[in-house]
């Protein structure tokens, strides 16, 4: 894929499609998504609700609701020589939590209210390591110290309800990292938190990523968070990757009109303009995200796109690979046109 890269990816996702059975029929929530994750990098997946970012991450760990969600045949998720898309439950169980761990948006619902937090860290260790009991307790305290929880010796005996939201998210991170996974998937880890606590958690995650050299997939709708912590970014819209590239390219030189419109629609703090002359209207994107049950013909963004042309309503653009490891799915991308080399499988 990227022969110039000094390292080989820890995770390779190829043509991932994930479908859900609904009363109205089968919807494809993630449609032909391919990407690589390199060691030690933070990859951001951004997009609005329903774009498929969470389903992508859950598909990697095969955490889809049984009987409702399924990965389409032909999808591949390569991790350590195993195709997770086709792997059996036994292999998956050895990988989940040990080599690929996940933290969720709402730490209260992800923690078990009837067990102490120490017990919950030890449970993960018991499952994935051969450490004796006393060692596990010692390691649980050490993990709490690592995530900067004050008085870890005391806190290890407390229950989730005794902790604040930020502290609970720290506990989730401690559980996720106790087996030193290769990949941490963080699904909106700070969305439920206040901004000063969000800043603490982001700083903690960043420090731990450096210390443990973990690769992180950060799923968020908050573009400010992406700009501050990610190395590369995938932008998703209606189940498709519409653009990918380095965080600098995405923010400074977006090529897809959706990415550009999303960035422009953010209210920006600290504009040095007097109130009277400040453009108070934001450049909003008209319309709404299309329903996955009723996707428009052609480009999925065309009816909201400021630069659409006739072709966009007829033919869906392919994801084209440009220089600097960028990709864009648009017939008329903004800026210099990418070399028309289509992404190889």
């Amino acid at each position: 894929m990227n022969p110039a890269s000094p390292s080989t990816p820890v995770l390779q996702v190829r043509h991932l499609s994930t479908c859900f059975k609904t009363a109205q029929g089968i919807v494809t929530a993630v449609d032909d998504v391919s990407f690589d994750l390199y060691p030690g990098e933070t990859l951001g997946i951004v997009g609005e609700s329903g774009c498929g970012k969470t389903v992508t991450s859950k598909s990697i760990l095969r955490l889809l609701p049984e009987g409702q969600g399924f990965i389409k045949p032909g999808s591949e998720i390569w991790f350590g020589g195993v195709n997770l898309a086709a792997a059996g439950e036994k292999i998956l169980r050895a990988i989940r939590g040990a080599r690929i761990a996940m933290i969720f948006q709402e730490p209260m619902t992800a923690l078990n209210p009837v067990f102490t937090i120490g017990w919950q860290i030890e449970e993960a260790l018991q499952y994935h390591s051969k450490l004796p009991r006393r060692e596990r307790r010692r390691r649980a305290v050490e993990m709490l110290r690592l995530v900067e929880i004050p008085n870890p010796e005391q806190r290890v005996k407390e229950y989730p309800h005794q902790l604040s939201g930020g502290m609970r998210q720290r506990v989730m991170i401690a559980i996720a990292l106790c087996c030193e996974p290769d990949i941490l998937i963080a699904d909106e880890p700070t969305t439920a938190l206040d901004v000063t606590i969000q800043a603490q958690i982001l700083q903690l995650l960043e420090g731990l990523r450096r210390k443990l050299n973990t690769s992180v997939i950060l799923i968020t709708h908050n573009l400010g968070v992406v700009a501050q912590v990610c190395d590369r970014v995938l932008v998703m819209y209606a189940g498709r990757i519409v653009e990918s590239g380095s965080v600098f390219d995405i923010f400074h030189r977006p090529q897809h009109p959706y990415t550009q419109a999303l960035l422009q629609s953010l209210p920006r703090a600290g504009k040095k303009q007097p109130v009277e002359t400040r453009p108070r209207r934001l450049p909003a994107i008209p319309g709404i995200v299309p329903s996955l049950l009723d996707l428009p013909r052609g480009c999925r963004f065309h009816d909201r796109c400021p630069c659409k042309q006739d072709r966009c309503a007829e033919e869906e653009p392919r994801l084209l690979e440009g220089p600097d490891a960028r990709e864009v799915r648009c017939h008329y991308p903004i800026g210099p046109a990418p070399a028309a080399a289509e992404r190889g499988a």
Binding site: V195, I197, A227, Q228, V247, F248, A261, L262, R268, V275
Partner: protein
Amino acid sequence: MPLVEVKRLVKHFPLRGGVFNRELGKVHALNGVSFRIERGEILGVVGESGCGKSTLGKAAIRLLEPTSGSIFYDGQEITRLAHARLMPFRRRMQIIFQDPYSSLNPRLTVRAMLRETIRFHGAAGRREVEKAIDELIGKVGLRPDAREKFPHEFSGGQRQRIGIARALAVRPEFIVADEPVSSLDVSIQAQILNLLMDLQEEYGLTMLFISHDLKIIEHFCDRMLVMYLGYAVEELPCENAGERALHPYTRALLGANPIDDPDDRRPLAVLQGDVPSPFDLPKGCPFAGRCPLVEERCRREMPPLEEKTGGQKVACWAVE
């Protein structure tokens, strides 16, 4: 004369529990907050969860009874007005909620709901009501066929438009907008903010705009009130708020807001620790436990909100 003025508003919620449901203590949601809003002005209220900003919004229009303090509307005190005498004021002040879905009656079509609101506040004959409904639906950017639909048939952004239409149905002067765009996606957020801005200009609305998002407050409002644990700690114009901010908490909030520019990366966490519980309020300044400028005096005595320069008020001992 300001349209809305609130003086030393206090709201304590009793915390009950135990076998006899005794009062165990009080949650100090508001601890003496004052502000004034001039006609046509938008005052932003910003702060983290539990700072009392929603309580302040609801108490200001008497959807919650304040424990003490006073509320003046258009020069008249309405703090203790009885229901019947309050009704004429109710028509002049409306609220828009964060979650439009739970604040809309699922069994009423948009038309029925708007009709009910318009009639309840004593507007005219049938034909006029129907005309007003059509006009409202157009004003908030919904298609005419929205009239006969139920709330569940709309997306989040469209529901918020319905919530706005309902608030506007009685032609209010003053609107409390309580986190009106927090549950919406970024692209929809911008649409709704633009709509509110247009309506504010068209009808000359006065607004109290509550949000946890400083960027939105800075963009949308004229002045902002920064709250922490039921206290107003700073009041400042939104223009260049980043440079004006004096209170260490306001500065921390501004610093913790992730900037959407990868070239401008900075250490985010400027504050340690959590917000203390409003149940057992610390003595002195509530921010003292996390404050980088804390002095000995801060732990003993709450600083008053004092005017510093050009309309900016700060409650901090460390700020000269």
